[in-house]
Every structure is written in C-alpha cells, then in structure tokens.
Amino acid sequence: MKSNFLNFTNMKTIKLLFLPLFALALFSSCSDDDAPPAAVNPGELITDVEVVFTNENDPNDIVTLSAVSADGIVDPTVTASGPFTANADYTATITILDNVNNEDILEEVVEEKDEHFFAYAVNSAIDVVDMIRDDSIDPQRTDGNYLGLETAWTFGAASTGTFTLQLVHEASSVDDQFGEPFEFGLYTGGELDINNTWNIEIQ
C-alpha cells in the first residue's frame, strides 16, 4: 500500500468519518428527560361486583355476595354477607362499579348487552332447586338470549357449596337455556371480565 494515507485532501474528507461522534454529542444534548410521563388513567376497571339476593317473602332477608378489588387490578376480596334461608325464593340482581373513575359499569354492560352475557354456576354440593332468568325485567339481547342480570333462585335444604358469577364479553355464541331445567347460561369464545367464585351456605 503506497502511503497516500496522509494526502491532505483525503485527510479532509476522511475527517467526515468522525461525524457520527459529533452527532452522538448532539444527540445526547438534545435528549431531555424533563417532562415526566403522564400517569395512565386506567379505563375499563371493575373494582366492585355485588350479587344482591332478596328473599321474596322477607324483604329484610338480603344476602350480598361481594368482590372488591381496591384498584380493579389486585386480587379481589370475596365475601358473602350471610347464609341463605333454606327452602326460600330469592330474586337476585347485580351491581358493577368502577370506584376509581366513579363509573357504573353495569350501565355500559346493559347498553352493550349484545356483547355481554352473565353466566352462573353452582357446584353440586349446594342444593339449588330452581334458577331462572327473570324475563319480565331481564334485558334481552338481539339474539333472543336474556342477559342474566335479573334472576330468580329457589334454594333447598341446608348445605354448603360454591357460587360462580361470570361476565363474558364478545362471546361468539351464548345459550341462556344451558343448565336445564335451570338457566345458568353457557358461552363460547369471548373473554371474561368477571370470573368470581363465592363459598355460600344454606341454613
């Protein structure tokens, strides 16, 4: 290799090689971390879920199954306010709240009822005699299925078991007759926005 390395005109151009270094200095001076990022205001939260059972023959006999997640993200605290009365009829309704943003989520669910569906489940240990969707007040979806917001339950003999409430969003199909003779409901696809299980007791 002949020593054209130190040729002056070449040297001048070759200085351009170091341009990225200067750019780096420029880049680092340009960068600013002054503005802190805005905290995200999480949407679509569900903090409080309640299923409120009222004894049809005794308005003072109310059993509330509640699940409370303080920020809608942490594991909810699940409680049943008390036992159900044996051989009694109850009507049940649901409340869903976002206490972080002070929103009534149930309103949204009813508004978008075609995309939503409540499904219930109880295990075999608990004596449930009857369960229907109360079609006189329960919102009906365009596909004919009842949403499952308003239900009527008949409990039998004293027993303990589990009760599950699920709210499914955008299921590909739902069936409110599932569980015959009960109407617990079945869905395929979609994703669960609520999936809580309570330990309950009939006394």
Partner: protein
C-alpha cells in the same frame, strides 16, 4: 460526435498550419485502487487515428504532438473504457488512473451457485430474487425458513419472525438497505416490518462481517438489499400477482426502474395484499386476515468515484389476531386446551376486527460514497425510522376502538465507514455508528404501559479485516466496541415494585413516590460497554473447503426485557420485565465443511454457542396471577441463565441430471439451561426438508417440484406445568403449558412455466399447492398453538410479468 469532428478538425488545423509539432506526451496508466501499472492497455489517439499500447510499467509515449487538444481513448480488459483530453502546450507527463472494478457499476451475469459471499469464514446463505419472488405473498421469515438452521417463530399465521440457531428477536438484526431496522423487534409477536417484494437479495450474515452492522447480533444479521440498477440506459420493471385459495387472499406488487448510462437512476415499487380468514383443515381461523400496503422509492447517482442514494420506504400493516386467542384468563385457557379447537369459529370474512395489530413504519435514508485513488471508499449515511405500533384488544364502553398498546419509536442513525480495498490481499473496513432513539408510549390507551417511555443512545466502532494469504488460505478478523445508554421513565404500580423486591434494591431510582394513587415514577438508567470479536479462517483444498469461526458478542438487554409490565391480552398472558438483567455474552464456535463439484454442493455446519446471562421468558413460579375481577391469567417473566446451544446444519444440492435435481436441508439443535440443568424453552425441533425439482429449459422453462417437510416433536423441553384449582368447579387441573405438539410431515408442490410476451417481456405462470394432504398439525414455535391448528391446504396461482 460533433465534438470529435471538432477535435479532428482542430488537429488538422494544427497540421496544416505546420505549427510546433514536436511535443511529447508521457503517460502512465495505473489502477485506480492500488496504483499498480496497467499493462498492454490500448490507447487510441483520436487526432491521428492511431493505436498504441502501454508497456510493462503501464507507460506509453506519444511523440511529435502539435500544440492544442489531444484526445485519448484508453481501454483494457476488465476496465472501464476511459476517454481523456488534454491541452498540449509543451512536453507533458500525465498519470491516468483506470477503474477495473466495473462489476460494481455494470451488470455481471452470474450463473450457477457461485455468489459473492459477505462472510467468508462463517456460515452464511444468500437468497436471490428468483427465489424471493416465489414468496411474493409471504413474509420475510417464510423465505429465510428455507435456509437450514433458520426456523420461524409464529404468532398465528401472519406474524412470523426468523429464528437463527434457536435465537430470535433482539438477537437477530435486520438490515434494510444498510439501515438497521428499529421496529420494536424485541417483541415475540413483532414481525419485521418488511415488504419482501422490495428485495432483490436476502443474505444471512454471521461472524466477522456481521460486526459491521452490530455487536449484539448473537444470532446473526439478515441483510436485505433492494433492487439495484446498473449504469446503462434501461427501463425495467416487474409485476407479480398472486391468489391464495386458503385465505382467498390476493396480492399484487409492481416495480418500475429507470437507469441511465451516466449513472443516474430512479425507481419505485409498491405492494398491496388483502387476505381473509385462513382455514385450518377442519375450521376457519377466525380473524386472521391481513391488510398490507407498502411502497418504496429510491433515486441516486452512481459513478466510479462518487455515488449517492436516497431511499424511502413505507409500510402499513394491519393484522388480525386469532379471535380465540383473546381469552379472559386461565379458566378459558384450560377449556381451550381441553376442547382442542378454537372457541370462536365464524364464517369466512375479509373483515379484520379486534384483536388486531396495526404497524406503520417509515424508513428514510441518505447515503453518500466516495472513492479515493489507491486507498478505498468512504461511505456516509444518515437514516431515520419512525415505527408506530398499535395493538387493539376487544374493549368496552368508551375504550372501544382505542388501542391498548400505542408505541411510537423514532430512531436517528448516522454512520461512516471506510473500506481500504487498494490491496488485493488485505482488505480493511473501519467505521463508526451512532444512534439516538426515543420511545413514546401513549397514555391515552387507558392501559398501563407495557413498554415505558425511554431514550436510548448507542455508539459503535468497528474494524474488520480480511487477509488472503494465498489462493488456499483466507483469514478474517473483526473487533467492535459498543456503548449503549438507556434512560427510561417507568411508572410502577406499588404492588409490583414491592413484589419484585425493587423497594430494597432500586430505591435510589424513584423520582416520584406517588405520581398517581398506588403508582410510583422511576428513572432507570443503564450504561453498557461491550466488546465483540470475531476471527475466522478458511482453507480450500481442491473441491473441499473448511472454515472455522470464533466470535464473542455481547447484547444489552432490550427495553422489553427490562421494563415489560402488563397484560398482553391478545395472547392472554401477563409479561413482567426484570430490572436486574445484565448483558448477554455469547461465545460461539462454528465450523463449515463444503464440497463442491459440477453436480454436488454439500455443506455441513456444526456449531456451539455458550451464552452467559441468556435472557428468556418463561412462566413464573406460580404460573398465574389474578387480575381484578377477571380471574387468573398466565404470568410470564423474563429470566436469565447460562445457556449452551449446539447443533448442526446440513445442506445437499445434487444434480441427478441436467433437468433433475435433489435438495436436502436438515437442522438439529439442542438448547440447555445450564443453571437449572434442563432444556431451554422454545427451541426449534429437528427439521428435514427434501425437494425434488424438474426443470426443462426447452419446454418454456417448465419447472415442477415436490417438497417434503418433516418436523419432529420437540422432546427437549422444560416443564413449566402447574396445578390450578378451577374456582367454579373446585376441580384440580394440571395446566400443560409445556408439552410440544406431535411431529408432522407436510408435502408441497410447485410448478411454473414461462412464455415470451413481447420482445423484452416475459410472463411466468406458477401453480403451487402448500400442505397438499391438508394435514392437521400444531407448531411448537407458534405462540397461538394452544388455541388452534395451523393453516390447511392452499392452492396458489402466481402470475409474474417482467418488463
């Protein structure tokens, strides 16, 4: 022509007036690159219509010259013919440099499999335009998958990214026309933002040459080259139209280029693709459509001494994510595994609904090159990329249609390099690169940021050298230094901060303890200094070639590995980053044996790669986390371990006759987690691919081929299964997130025929069938394998029009 007549008449004028015609011109011809004399060049003297030749020293002498202009045309085999003119006013000496590397400017026809290798001592592969065209409606990873040792990582059927020797994402870099793609390649479900129709060549580069691009490409670099024009007057283009029966998808891609002999060129290319839902043999894979638009444009000038290139490309890609994968938690996940088929099967549609991804990527580049006589070539480049990624989930109320993830990543890059190529035996290339990157995560999503806002600064310097000892020995070496600086602004939720023990170890990075209720703002800053080295040697003995390569590379953890935190609804899992991660260090040793004769081309490539601090994502100890009222979700976290990966790639090309050829490529890899003494997760299973191809040039270039593709079951996998009690039933279930699917064997058919349409145009018609027997199978490397089968049989018609 008129100029020449003018010159001639001038010459005659000289003669006729009998002026001083006793001057002498001494000339010396040398090679532009290395200054070596050019012997026996033909020198045509216009004025006297005479020819002379240069001597052994490259010198020539013309006597009895008159005062005035003298025009010489100098030509030499392999050199660009050069015309020069001088004003003669006395005895003169002129040094003239000729260019003999004209292949860089003009088209050189390459036949056979001999290709210009980027890396000479490490494994590498080149895929040419012809082969790329066959995948006109596919993705980059579908093409690279044809290389032994390269597999594909899928999220459904439209999001596919390459895996090289078990390594993917940030460990594999994609170079698009000299620009390192910054398209959030860290994510498993982020495929390269590339339109394959814009590519003329795809090269897989490893070893020393890869260090020119980056020091952290532990897996390798995929180098993409756009269509190149040559210095001749021409107008050419191509249109490819494809119809796929499986997803009723149509694709069209067109390009047009104009080039001039003087060196100017301009051209562009555009593609449009629209796919509906794909079909597995037994059902529609609902919401797997694609809406893809891309175009690129380039212009520039190229002469031997100087060239510049302006390039711009844009891509807008909307991809549906399998509806059934968007589930609400572990209960539905278990149901999905148990039922063995997707929960949501709708009728075929072209509509893409949520969940879906939308990616928009702009890439702009300006490049300038200049050659210096007897020295080499300087390249300067600036590039800018803007990548916007939006992921849409099924949402409720006011958040309907609002993306859950909305990231804007902008990158500025500047690089310079110098190639010292004046010496035939020793080539040296040195360069500097700097890069500034800014990520913005839009808080309007109403979902906690999966990736935080960050700024990143990178600097790299490299020297690579290639040394040809003689015709049989070649040595390669490279060293590179990289500096990475990451400055993030990350908001943690208190529970996560405490659960990970960050309150103990990272208290000093807290900026605001209570930026919002239950949230704290931190400012994690990372600095990494990395040295990468690669050395290699190659020996040629007749038809045999043996190459050895060692490389040391380091990779800084990427923002996703460090900071991820949140629910990835479209794959129904929570991903948690790890602030404690350090850099990965890979020591890699590979060997290549190649045998080549007129009929056989065989290569065997064993390798071993020890990676300290290997970063991977795997289920957490509990496997699940309960999110608010929605129940339990799968939870994955980023972990680090020492890993050992080793394997062998095998390739055989055998021409049975002039028309019949056979091809095999087989890859085998083992990945071990040395710390936990178990296999690594997500390692490609053994794969062997056999192709038999018939081609007859006489019958309109008829080509018929059958490919058999066998994937074994991956028996080496870590067990992350866990027990879970389904709350609604009280049932204890073993959640199997680990067991890979069974082995499968696919058969593909391809055929094509060519006809001449006009003088300069050809039409090629292709008919292909993928998965001929409509086999049901699931792929271990598909993240959605828990939810649905892979795509079934597909008939494909391809029309290719070259003009």
């Amino acid at each position: 022509m008129f100029r020449y007549i003018g010159l001639l008449s001038l010459a005659f004028t000289c003669l006729s007036f009998g002026q001083d015609c006793n001057y002498t011109l001494l000339g010396e011809l040398s090679d532009f690159h290395d200054g070596t004399p050019i012997v026996s060049a033909t020198i045509y003297i216009k004025e006297t219509n005479r020819y002379i030749t240069s001597d052994l020293d490259g010198k020539f002498k013309i006597e009895n010259l008159c005062k005035g202009k003298l025009t010489l045309t100098i030509s030499h085999i392999g050199c660009e013919t050069k015309t020069v003119s001088f004003n003669i006013s006395g005895d003169t000496f002129k040094a003239i440099a000729l260019e003999h590397h004209i292949e860089q400017l003009n088209e050189v026809s390459v036949t056979g499999s001999k290709t210009n290798r980027e890396s000479k001592t490490a494994q590498q592969a080149v895929i040419k335009a012809k082969e790329i065209e066959g995948f006109s409606s596919g993705s980059l990873a579908n093409i690279t998958e044809t290389i032994a040792g390269v597999s594909a990582l899928n999220t459904g059927n439209n999001i596919v990214k390459p895996i090289i020797h078990g390594l993917h994402s940030s460990r594999v870099i994609t170079m698009q026309n000299g620009v390192r793609m910054q398209d959030q390649e860290w994510g498993l479900e982020h495929a390269p933002s590339v339109d394959v129709n814009a590519l003329q060549e795809i090269t897989l580069v490893k070893g020393a040459s890869a260090l020119m691009y980056s020091g952290d490409a532990i897996g390798g670099a995929i180098v993409l080259k756009p269509v190149k024009t040559y210095n001749k007057d021409s107008l050419f283009g191509r249109t490819i139209a494809v119809y796929d029966s499986n997803n009723r998808g149509y694709s069209i891609s067109s390009s047009l280029f104009k080039s001039y002999e003087k060196g100017w060129y301009i051209g562009g290319q555009g593609s449009y693709r629209r796919f509906g839902d794909s079909k597995a043999p037994d059902y529609v894979l609902s919401n797997t459509g694609l809406d893809f638009k891309a175009f690129s444009f380039q212009t520039g000038y190229r002469s031997f001494e100087e060239s510049f290139n302006v390039y711009y490309s844009y891509l807008d890609n909307e991809i549906g994510i399998l509806s059934s994968a968007h589930i609400g938690g572990i209960d539905q996940f278990i149901e999905s595994i148990e039922s063995g088929q997707p929960a949501t099967i709708r009728d075929f549609t072209y509509d893409i609904r949520d969940p879906r991804q939308r990616i928009r990527h702009h890439l702009a580049k300006v490049e300038y090159e200049r050659r210096f006589s007897k020295l080499g070539k300087l390249t300067l480049q600036y590039d800018y990329q803007r990548n916007q990624r939006q992921e849409f989930d099924r949402r409720r109320g006011d958040f309907k249609g609002v993306p859950s993830i909305d990231l804007l990543l902008q990158t500025h890059g500047l690089q310079s390099r110098f190639l010292f190529d004046s010496n035939e035996r020793v080539k040296i290339q040195a360069g500097l690169q700097s890069q500034y990157q800014d990520n913005f995560a839009d808080p309007a999503t109403g979902v906690f940021r999966l990736i935080p806002d960050f700024e990143r600064l990178d600097m790299g310097a490299f020297i690579l050298s290639e040394w040809k000892l003689d015709n049989d020995y070649l040595l390669e070496g490279a060293i590179r230094y990289d500096y990475n600086h990451i400055d993030a602004q990350k908001i943690y939720r208190d529970f996560r901060w405490e659960e990970r023990g960050y309150d103990q170890d990272f208290a000093d990075i807290i900026v605001d303890e209570n930026i919002a209720p239950g949230q704290l703002l931190t400012n994690p800053v990372y600095d990494f200094h990395n040295i990468s080295i690669a050395i290699g040697a190659k020996r040629t003995i007749g038809n045999h070639e043996i190459a050895l390569n060692y490389s040391l590379s380091n990779r800084a953890p990427n923002p996703s590995e460090l900071f991820s935190d949140g629910l990835h609804q479209s794959v129904a899992r929570i991903e948690v980053g790890n602030l404690r991660l350090g850099k990965e260090t890979a020591n890699q040793l590979s060997a290549t044996y190649t045998y080549q004769n007129s009929r056989i081309n065989l290569s065997v490539e064993p390798y071993i790669n020890r990676i300290d601090n290997y970063i991977f994502i795997a289920p957490t100890e509990l496997g699940i986390r309960i999110i608010g009222q929605a129940g339990a979700f799968l939870e994955y976290e980023f972990l680090a371990t020492d890993a050992l990966l080793y394997g062998v790639d095998f390739n055989l090309d055998y021409s049975l006759s002039e028309r019949l050829s056979f091809k095999n490529s087989t890859a085998f890899i083992i990945g071990e987690d040395l710390d936990n003494n178990e296999p690594l997760i997500d390692m490609p299973p053994i794969n062997t691919r056999n192709t038999i191809q018939y081609q007859n040039k006489k019958w309109n270039n008829l080509s018929l081929g059958l490919t058999s593709d066998f994937f074994a079951m991956q028996n080496n996998f870590p067990n992350y299964n866990f027990q879970y009690t389904v709350p609604s039933t009280g049932e204890d279930v073993l959640v199997d997130v680990s067991t890979p699917p069974s082995s499968y064997h696919l058969l593909h058919f391809n055929s094509s025929i060519e006809t001449k349409l006009f003088k300069k145009s050809t039409l090629e018609i292709g008919f292909n069938i993928q998965n001929v027997f409509n086999i049901n199978y699931r792929n271990y490397l598909n993240r959605l394998r828990f939810f649905a089968d892979e795509v079934g049989r597909n008939f494909q018609i391809q029309l290719k029009f070259n003009y």
